[in-house]
Amino acid sequence: MNSRRAVFLVTLVALGFLTVVLRLVDLMILEHDWLSQRAYRQHVRSETVAAPRGTIYDARMRELAVNRRVQSVFGVPKEIRNPGQMAGRLSRVLGLKKTALAERLSDRDKGFVWLARKVDEDTVRAIQAMNLAPEIGFVPETKRTYPKGRLASHVIGFVDIDNRGTEGIERIFEDVLRGESGRVMKGRDALGQALSSGEDNAQTGHDLVLTLDEDLQYIVEDALNEAVEHHRARGGVSVMMDPYTGRVLAMAVNPTFSPEHRARPENWRNRAVTDVYEPGSTFKAILAAAALEEKRVRVSDRFDCSEGVIEVGGRRIHDHKRLGVLTFEEVVQKSSNVGMVKVAQILGSETYFRYITAFGFGEKTGLTVSGEVKGLLKAPKNWSGSSIGAMAVGYEVAVTPIQVLNAYAAIANGGVLMRPYIVSDVLDSEGRVVKRFEPEAVRRVISERTSRILTEILETVVQDGGTAVNASVLGNRVAGKTGTSRKIDRQTGRYSRTRYYSSFVGYVPSQNPKLAMIVVIDEPKGSIYGGEVAAPVFRKIAEHALIYLNIPREDTGHVVLVSG
């Protein structure tokens, strides 16, 4: 009996062992691959990691566009039993309509719906306090923020909700700034607790260093906004540049916009490069440069402007008053239309056109900001009989403010047209320079001698007897030219008698210029003349900028402190 019982027990144990062995064979050999994959999925969770966008800095490495970690709220409709009630609770916190939320949460086929993207910390805390997991959850995201607010918003641009560049530098340099999203493998235990946060392979976008200087940008924007407000103008543009290198130091446009709370898309345009206007008298410097370079006129040549009017191709061009007989220098100083038409007639249309194109009009400057246009410039074969007269005084040609400024920068630097640039460096995430943009000379336009003579002439514009006394800067000589041009009335197709562009473009200190600058005010009310509207803005900006840049007055120089 005992032996039978023993055999039974041994058999039972043996069967037990056999079962275990068979199960082990099943688990370890037959189902090994499937089970190991399942275990891996259970213990290692793969997550997509968005690559942070590169930072945009000003020339002194001050942040103009950065990223901030935020949370986005999502819902899992198929887990939600009462969408109406859930929507009611969330609508108060998220500030969204209950019906819209309920609609989103009611689609029980969906396992994921966005409820609110990139919400602030307080909202996150409020929802977390409601303890709504797993029906409601959070996804960490990065939000592009612009710590300087509206500053340089037309240049920097902005991104959409998915951090894709939509305007400005953000759009132009999207490929550089964006970076590559990656994945991270996070180890977890059986309870889902994190064992390691893993290493992600996301590649941070490259950083950009602009040529803009935050302080100069503020000085320019502040003065421009004040002038636009003071003259009840439609808007304005002001750009500051280093004439020797083409580095854009400041670029301001009014109306402004906030890149984070943007409204009115018509205000997003960077009008310094997208909008054209007829430059009026500021264009006379181009004609003067051409005439001097071709030696068709001398500074002392005299022009009879006593009639105060001249007829060209059946069109009468007037001076604002009878100016008498003027030297060439005085023609420019007093901005005589009659005198300049006579100079253009001496020079001839072909030669004039050659210089206009050489100064970069009719082509894009190549500045890396969005929406640059090349303007409108007719070839001489398409000119009417009056075109030579109109173009002598800056009409029948449409230019951008940056083109005019760049041409004046060429006059200022000794005659070389530079390619303006606004991005100086591309840096990797470690701060190493990946690409550097260097100053680039496009072509020599006029000789140094012509540049020097023309600078002396343009200095007289800002002195007593000139049209831009209001642009003079205490302690430093300024060279420049005013412009007052009529706008086309879109309804009649004729030049308006009430709507004008007032502008001033110049450089300072004129003999060794550190800054070239243009100010264009669109439709000022009351006073309309460039010398009264734009020139004071130039002075205000120049005086502050020269102090900021530690450029001494020519009359006092530096105060020398002796040590040691």
Binding site: E63, D189, D215, E543, L546, V560, V562
Partner: protein, 117 residues
């Protein structure tokens, strides 16, 4: 001479089993202990990594706030509240430091260039 009675030394073989068992038990316990420690350390590392990420995010936020606070518009606003204004150009003198040697040399050059009566 009577043969000295040899003292019987007990064979160490009887110790082998308990020692081996002890070693196996100790080894197993050590392995379990090490495994537990490794797990503990992994939890600690994960927590620290999480903290590091959080602190980096805080640092980014603080840098962003610092940039906001140092924006020229904000500084100008604060300055105007305090009654500060940008000085006129006539009130600004730019100062350059120069060593005595350079200053004397410059002065001598000026003197040499000045026509004497």
């Amino acid at each position: 001479m009577p043969r000295a009675r040899k003292k019987r030394i007990p064979s160490p073989a009887f110790l082998l089993k308990p020692v081996a068992v002890s070693l196996i038990i100790a080894g197993s316990l050590s392995l379990i202990w090490m495994k537990t420690r490794v797990m503990e350390v992994r939890y600690e590392i994960a927590e620290l990594e999480q903290q590091r990420v959080q602190l980096l995010n805080v640092q980014k936020d603080l840098l962003s706030q610092k940039s906001q606070f140092s924006s020229p518009a904000r500084i100008a606003m604060r300055a105007s509240r305090l009654g500060l204004t940008v000085p006129d150009r006539e009130n600004v003198y730019l100062v350059k430091y120069q060593s005595r040697v350079v200053a004397v040399a410059n002065h001598s050059k000026k003197e040499a260039g000045t026509p004497r009566l």
